[in-house]
Symmetry: C2
Subunit: 99 residues, 2 copies
DNA sequence: TTGGTATATCGGGAAAAGTCGATATATCTT
DNA sequence: AAGATATATCGACTTTTCCCGATATACCAA
């Protein structure tokens, strides 16, 4: 888990927004309700809310996942993303003791 | 204080290292001893330790200052830099509540 | 097996960041 | 006032990031 990679992932307004939205999926992605929130929120929902293209959002989610800040679950043709709180715990450790 | 700007400032190995070194100036910048540590560490000392050019280090320190992570004191021909712990407090707040 | 839908990957052009050497500015010393 | 030293800024070049459209892949449904 590279520190620089984590901070690079956080160096983008849209990616920060996605992470924040994923804190309260029920509030921020109501259209996801019919599929449930257990596995997270699917890419299409996130894409719509950002207003960016599908490819960009897919790329951004990969970036966040490589940094350890989200995790994904593939279910059928959907990929659900949710926050990875372990990643944030690591981030807190880094800031407390390594910076 | 822009969130993205803070994370961009942290998205660089050398800048992270500088911040970490400045946690213990006495240990990491012993040559600074004769001038004291009260105002921080001067650019030249930091430059030597990074191995980067003077202009790059000066630029990096400005970047960190714009992000609120260090503060500077000019004394004579020297500019001393030290950590700005308020900035780190803000960073912690951002991570806790805005991401 | 043929479409249809959701996501991922690829290729690219524009903008930003990384890093340098050269030069400017500020200050100190003599 | 002149030279020396410390730092900041400028101009340039290379690498990375941003973000897109097009295409590929995976899965589902008829």
């Amino acid at each position: 888990m590279d520190q620089v990679e984590i901070f690079k992932a956080l160096s983008n307004k849209s990616r920060l927004q996605i992470l924040n939205w994923l804190k309260e999926p029920e509030t921020n992605f109501p259209d996801q309700a019919e599929y449930g929130y257990a596995n997270g929120v699917c890419v299409g929902q996130i894409q719509m809310k950002t207003g960016l293209t599908q490819s960009t959002v897919s790329e951004y989610l990969s970036t966040l996942q490589r940094a350890g800040l989200v995790k994904s679950n593939r279910v059928g043709q959907w990929t659900y993303y949710q926050r990875n709180e372990e990643g944030f715990a690591i981030l807190n450790e880094i800031i407390k003791s390594e910076i």
